[in-house]
């Protein structure tokens, strides 16, 4: 294979540490180096580790409520030991169930797959791949993490209040979420949820603005926009989506805070609850849904685009072959970014939306499937006639494509309003978005972690555990979510914690058991990954070459463990696009290499 792997520079690993501050930074204390750090690489790691903690919590919650779904008639005394009155008699109580579901959804969508994914890889990769010493504003970047951290603390604290966490679903629709009388979860838990989300949005805006200005202004010499690696482009579109849509959610959340605490009627009208007649008139509950989904749909692409970008890069590097259709990839990301703003009402086909408006949203929604299809075909062609190395990162990237296909195709059902009448708010939707957004983006994230771990920590993750992690997760994901479509086709509503009282939906007891058992296994394997992660930070096999994957992009021109400022001397100049693999009989040609006199053109 590549000569790169055989370079043995035994001392390099240690030499690094001393040169860390080579370009004139004063010696840093532990706190400014690891805690209030302004180094984009450290901030990226902070996002990643916080994201991992949240993923464990969110995942654990899903195991708990899957226990209820799979074994509704069984008692688990251990639950009562841990959760007291929430699990009276070893059985998860409805309010607890809905609290678990809500926090599960919220933290996985926002805290893990938005902050944990974008926060980690935008921070790590943008400066390194465009050739910059750091972000445009390292200080705002640090603030972005700390806002996220405070948001996390508040969200976490809501789990421990007496009336429990918010339980209105991750979409937090009013009037349910606006009325304290509506249930325990609608009390202080919902206030904490709203405050945490508001802080989260601030964090995400600070981050996003920084990513955009860094990409636009701080590219190294020769790094034109069309020479940017695809992960950077993906982060760019992600940031633009976030900056334009998160403020709308913020306004929605603020109006909800007003309705809850100041007696306004933005979302409230004609309400009689628990025999109490409320004075509010003239508000619109549907208004909130428009505001929510105006963020909510772009949000799914905020989650997905970074994964797509990293998968493109990783597939190309490991197929030892250029990404197919670089410009088409850009074009489709661009049209996804534009269309993402024009499809939000497909989540609202059955809210009483004007049918004509509904039909416009059907058209726009199915339009967005075209760029998605283009991307899939381009990935397939990238693999075609390659020379593929199945590193764990490459496997997760392949798995990502498989899941994206499966989940994208079921989107065509839901985007068609006629079919959505039947499938809306059923388990079919749950299956769809878990596959296409949840699991697929997780696969993108895992691919990124396995691929760039050597850059982050100067060591490798254990491969055997990596393969095991991939295969169990891949098989498990399909076993869990594929049959769920059938429950949805039967019309089984989502967020039903016990179907035994129903004639129409009680035929899936065995299936639910199977799904629960597999979920537990998959969760255990994720814990194994977390173990591998932390173990390898300290004890993993050391990286001995600068460019272990034989990749073209700039991050592999830094030292094995780059210090603050990334490059010791000059920032390298870029002479070509990042995907010259297998060109003119050469395995790979780094971006820094000038174009040869008689190099072939494409």
């Amino acid at each position: 294979m590549s000569e790169a792997i055989n370079i043995h520079s035994g001392a390099a690993g240690h030499a690094v540490h001393h040169d860390d501050h080579g370009h004139g930074h004063p010696e840093q204390s532990f706190i400014s180096k690891y805690i209030f750090s302004m180094d984009h690489k450290t901030i990226g790691k902070q996002f990643l580790i916080t994201g991992i903690v949240w993923a464990i919590i969110g995942g654990l919650f899903s195991v708990l409520f899957r226990l209820q779904l799979g074994f509704p008639d069984q008692s688990f005394p251990i639950l009562e030991t841990f959760f007291g009155h929430w699990a009276k008699g070893g059985q998860i109580q409805p309010e607890f169930y809905y609290g678990l579901v809500t926090i599960h959804g919220t933290v996985l969508v926002f805290f893990v797959l938005t902050a944990g994914l974008s926060g980690t890889f935008a921070n790590l990769l943008i400066p390194l791949q465009i050739g910059a010493r750091d972000m445009a504003s390292p200080f705002l970047n640090m603030l972005s993490y700390w806002f996220f951290f405070i948001a996390s603390i508040i969200m976490l604290s809501s789990i421990f209040v007496h009336t429990g966490p918010a339980s209105g679903g991750w979409t937090m629709y009013p009037p349910l979420s606006a009325l304290r009388q509506a249930g325990d979860g609608q009390k202080i838990g919902t206030d904490l949820w709203l405050i945490a989300m508001a802080l989260f949005i601030v964090s995400s805006l600070l981050g996003g603005l920084n990513y955009i200005s860094t990409i636009l202004n701080m590219r190294t010499k020769g790094m034109s926009m069309t020479r940017l690696p695809l992960p950077v482009w993906a982060m760019f579109f992600t940031a633009v989506l976030g900056v334009l849509s998160f403020p709308v959610l913020l306004s929605g959340a603020i109006l909800l805070i007003f309705d809850r605490n100041l007696g306004t009627s933005f979302y409230l009208s004609d309400i009689v609850i628990n025999g109490e007649i409320l004075p509010n008139e003239g508000g619109s509950a549907i208004l909130y849904q428009h505001l929510f989904w105006f963020l909510g749909h772009p949000e799914v692409y905020i989650i997905l685009l970074p994964a797509m970008g990293m998968v493109s890069e990783i597939l190309s590097v490991n197929a030892r072959k250029p990404i197919f259709g670089y410009m088409a990839m850009l074009g489709s990301m661009f049209s996804i970014a534009v269309l993402a703003f024009l499809v939000w009402a497909h989540h609202m086909f059955v809210t009483g939306l004007n049918p004509f408006l509904g039909s416009v949203f059907v058209l726009l929604t199915l339009l967005i499937a075209v760029p998605s299809a283009i991307k899939v075909f381009n990935w397939l062609t990238t693999l075609w006639r390659g020379n593929i190395r199945f590193t764990p990162a490459a496997l997760f990237a392949i798995g990502f494509v498989s899941l994206f296909i499966s989940g994208g195709l079921t989107g065509i059902f839901l985007g068609n309003s006629t079919i959505d009448i039947h499938l809306h708010d059923t388990m079919f939707v749950v299956a769809h978005f878990h596959i296409v957004m949840g699991v697929a983006s997780f696969f993108g994230m895992f691919a990124g972690v396995y691929h760039w771990f050597p850059k982050m920590f100067g060591r490798y993750l254990n491969n055997t555990l990596g393969y095991l992690h991939f295969w169990v997760t891949m098989v498990g994901a399909y076993l869990i979510f594929w049959p769920m479509h059938y429950q949805g086709l039967a019309g089984m509503p989502r967020r039903y914690l016990d179907k035994r009282g129903w004639v129409s939906f009680n035929q899936f007891a065995d299936l639910d058991k199977m799904i629960t058992v597999v979920s537990i296994i998959v969760f255990a394997v994720q814990l194994m990954f977390v173990f591998n992660f932390f173990y390898s930070i300290f004890k993993g096999r050391k990286v001995t070459s600068q460019n272990p994957w034989g990749a073209n992009t700039l991050e592999w021109t830094t030292k094995i463990k780059p210090g603050h400022g990334n490059w010791d001397g000059e920032i390298p100049e870029v002479h070509r696009w990042p995907y010259d693999y297998a060109k003119d009989g050469r395995e790979f040609i780094p971006q820094t290499e000038p174009v040869g006199a008689n190099e072939s053109k494409h």
Binding site: V350, L363, L383, R385, W471, G491, S504
Partner: protein, 348 residues
Amino acid sequence: MQTFFIVAILALGFLITFQIAKASEYVAVLRGYERSRLQSNRINGFLLLAFLVIGLVGVFYCNERLKGKILGVPASDHGVLVDRMLYVTLGITFFVFVLTQIGLFWFSYKYQEKENQKPFYFPHNNKLELIWTVIPAITLTVLVGFGIFYWFKITGTAPKNAMRVEVTGKQFGWEFRYPGKDGVLGKKYFKNVNPAANNPAGQIWDDPANYDDVFVEQEMHLVVNKPVQLVIGAKDVIHDVGLAHFRMKMDAVPGTPTTMWFTPTYTTRQMREKTGNPDFVYEISCDQMCGKGHWSMRGLIVVETQAEFDAWMASKKPQYLVANPGKDPAVKTDTLSAAAPVTGAVIR
């Protein structure tokens, strides 16, 4: 005890796996990293192919196991359209699914790293890219066309002869109001809601259209082959009238009434025969998260012949008379002198 056992076994499994993983890394270092890397590459390549084959078989197996448990006959005219659209979409997407998954895993397997295999420098090809832009675009246009056509049929105005029923969701149950002989649902105002005074729907007793409106809870009766328009609302939070067998669904939003219409095509009795399930009932499921009882918010629909329906309706007393017994000819035959309606209603 059992839990302890499971935890112990998991921990043990963990430890063993980890030791093996660790050992395999040492072996790799000893044997030469490159050699063991190539070996694991071959193994994973094979596994990808195996995953494809087993996965596709699994898809068919899953379908065999579960296809009898879904859908069933659509019990409304609109349901037939929804199912047709669904199966057309299923056909097309399944074809694409099989094609692309085979492509993905087969290419991965076939082009796994081999000595002397030279990857092909193939950065773009306009013709190919055009093809796979245009074909999906055309296919989707066809699907959109059909979809919108059906959508307008389903959401279009209800036929003139449709009966109207008001459906109201509340935490955690369903209320229904029939317009009575005049076919008009009387006015109501939420501040009039007062179950203690027998006015759970908040009807305005000044409105004569309310005199014959019938109020029932939890069970709605419909006439087979007669179009019905549901006027849907909610008292407290958003609910959703989910009718899986009719393939219909509409949110119930406080303050913003919605409607939907359809024609039930089989009576409950016919469905019992069709499904072979003597316990079959049409159920209303609340499909929008509405609080801790969301999962149990169940209503019933009885679809019957016109004669059965009329007999059922005749057994019901208009809510006006329940709330104002003074007006009830059956209770007090003549007195027209009784005071004006008890509740001081505000007309909006």
